[in-house]
């Protein structure tokens, strides 16, 4: 009996050694995340562990007067609280703000045993934000200038279908639902819109609709709309048919409702924004998961018309993803590398260039990026708003932490998403699981 017990003990030892050696496969990616900042990030070999390495932060919300942290010389205030999953912000020229509350409602199809596990992780990461309160609407937030007290929003457009992007062109407000771009007549200063809105174009949505946020912007003269359509999978594991015209940025002619694919191979492009005073479109892109904690770096990039950025066949240029079959070496050859790495799994979802004057001059023309935060690496990454300085319209240097404190002791008070700069030059941040809109102002002008 003693021998048998010893044997079982030995077996346990062997099992442990096997697990450890499998885990050790992941240590090939032991690199500092700072090596993945900028135009030439360190791209390690893919690594895989038997059990996925992840850390999903529990959502605890903000209590009392808790706030995120901003650098010295700035202050941060909640300007709207108790919202229901506010994901995006749009600043109107008169100082009003549009707050887009949005949730993905429909579950994804049960194709494989992994799906319910993934659904559970996604739900945990969002902390049931907003509970059962109504969401999927556009709120109007008029800042009463009441000295840091939260304002009361009014509902501008209700009963939308998981909206995300909005853009105002003249007297027309375009709203990108997950399944269509809608057009509403709207004059700045109005506090309501009449009617249900008119459909401009259908967008790819269900029944899978994995990456569902449709980011939206317009060119300077408003003649073209640009909409981000994220992929339906992590790395084409639902087949190429599910990815028709996805992982792409569309150029839409709002007059005719026609579209063409403007750029491809962008797994989940968000934060579409033209660089101020230029015709260069920029986006932040969520790259793929499950190739290791330091792969693949998410990025900020200018979007070249007609370009292919690799997804799903390759990443960061021409690094071939071993999971994707059939391989397409012809397409990989045409893949270009993006401009600027943000490090892996930060989940950038918001981008705003600083067009105000109230922040110090080093911020002028730079980019604020809302990093929603990681779940699939052991050390959390993101969960903050970073600033990237620009010179001559190009990003320079490392990202600087600008708004932090969303994550504390492994628990998430909130997660930043959409970013905007308002008329006064204040920075506005949507915090979807914290159900809050934050406003960052400079205390002294330099």
């Amino acid at each position: 009996m003693g021998v048998r017990t010893g044997g079982a003990g030995m077996k346990r030892h062997i099992a442990l050694v096997v697990c450890l050696s499998l885990a050790a496969c992941g240590t090939g990616q032991n690199i500092e995340k700072s090596t993945q900042y900028g135009p030439t990030p360190d791209i390690p070999e893919p690594s895989r562990t038997l059990l996925p390495q992840m850390k999903v932060a529990d959502v605890v919300g903000w209590s009392g007067g808790d706030k995120p942290t901003v650098p010295q010389g700035f202050r941060i205030d909640a300007i709207a609280t108790g919202l229901s999953s506010p994901r995006n912000i749009y600043a109107l020229p008169n100082g009003d703000l549009l707050v887009i509350e949005s949730k993905k409602d429909a579950p994804e199809p049960l194709e494989r045993p992994k799906r319910p596990v993934m659904a559970w992780i996604e739900k945990k990461a969002h902390g049931g934000s907003g509970g059962e309160r109504p969401s999927n609407r556009v709120l109007l937030l008029r800042h009463a200038d009441s000295g840091g007290k939260p304002d009361t929003p009014t509902v501008l457009i209700d009963h939308l279908n998981s909206p995300f992007g909005v853009v105002l062109v003249g007297d027309t407000l375009y709203v990108a639902d997950t399944d269509a771009i809608l057009r509403f007549p709207f004059k700045v200063g109005q506090t309501s819109v009449d009617g249900p809105g008119e459909k401009v174009i259908d967008l790819p949505a269900g029944p899978i609709n994995h990456h569902w946020t449709k980011s939206l912007t317009a060119n300077a003269d408003g003649s073209k709309l640009y909409v981000g359509v994220g992929s339906n999978s992590n790395a084409m594991e639902r087949g190429i048919e599910a990815e028709t015209n996805r992982a792409a940025i569309w150029e839409v002619d709002p007059a005719s409702g026609a579209f063409k694919v403007f750029a491809r191979g962008l797994r989940n492009p968000n934060g579409l924004t033209f660089y101020p005073g230029s015709s260069t479109l920029w986006a932040v892109v969520n790259e793929r998961d499950e190739l290791g904690p330091n792969l693949v770096p998410d990025y900020l990039t200018s979007v070249k018309p007609g370009a292919f950025y690799g997804w799903p066949y390759s990443y960061w240029g021409q690094h071939v993803d071993p999971r994707v079959r059939p391989q397409r070496s012809d397409l990989v050859k045409s893949a270009i590398a993006p401009d600027y790495g943000l490090s892996s799994h930060v989940a950038p979802l918001g981008l705003a260039f600083y067009t105000g004057n109230s922040f110090p001059s080093q911020f002028h023309g730079g980019a604020f990026v809302g990093e929603h935060g990681s779940w699939n690496r052991p050390e959390p990454n993101g969960y903050k708003l970073v600033f990237i300085r620009f010179e001559n319209g190009r990003p320079v240097g490392d990202p600087m932490d600008f708004v932090t404190g969303f994550l504390e002791d492994g628990k998430a008070h909130g997660r930043p998403v959409g970013v905007a700069v308002d008329r006064t030059g204040a920075l506005i941040v949507a915090d979807d699981v914290g159900n809050t809109v934050w406003r960052v102002t400079a205390e002294t002008k330099s």
């Binding site: 038997l50 494989r112 992994k114 594991e237 087949g239 994707v324």
Partner: protein
């Protein structure tokens, strides 16, 4: 003439007519044994099927086959887990000294198949080709061989070992 050694070693005739009077066995074992016999073939069949779908995926890269493999392995583990518990109950309720060489071989092979398939299930969660080629299909083959070998041990020992009528040999 059936000797005690034959009984210990599991060398007893398949026909219960010629078998010695079964020793008294516990009521628990007589409930667990038929449950085990009912469930045990299910993971065996599913694990073998997963080999087929893995090979089909390796040959075609058609994702339907990968999804089939994932469900087959998961379902095999679900039924296999209940069967494994039932088997453990049979062994403990009957007394470990009455299991015999082939009985222990059966148990070890079946448990090995389940452990291999647990690893295999995780390997199969990868999003595409690396879920199967090369480790996934290899583990599927090894797991299926262990499961079939566990079936094979039944040729050498009385099914009565785990049946409600008989007793552990």
């Amino acid at each position: 003439m059936v000797t005690l050694r034959d009984i210990r070693d599991g060398h007893v005739p398949l026909s219960s007519d010629n078998a010695p009077m079964p020793p008294a066995r516990s009521r628990v074992a007589s409930v667990a044994a038929p449950i085990y016999l009912l469930l045990f073939p299910i993971p065996v069949v599913l694990f073998v099927a997963a080999v087929v779908t893995d090979v089909a995926y390796s040959a075609s890269a058609f994702l339907m086959w990968l999804h089939f493999s994932q469900w087959l392995i998961a379902a095999g583990l679900a039924f296999g887990a209940v069967a494994a518990i039932a088997l453990l109950v049979v062994v403990f309720a009957s007394g470990a000294n009455r299991v015999g060489t082939y009985g222990w071989s059966h148990l070890v092979l079946f448990y090995a198949a389940l452990i291999i398939e647990v690893f295999n299930a995780f390997i199969h969660t990868a999003d595409g080709w690396t879920a199967v080629v090369p480790i996934g299909v290899l583990l599927s083959i090894v797991g299926a061989i262990c499961a079939l070998a566990a079936v094979g041990t039944l040729f050498f020992m009385p099914i009565a070992w785990v049946s409600a009528r008989g007793a552990p040999a």
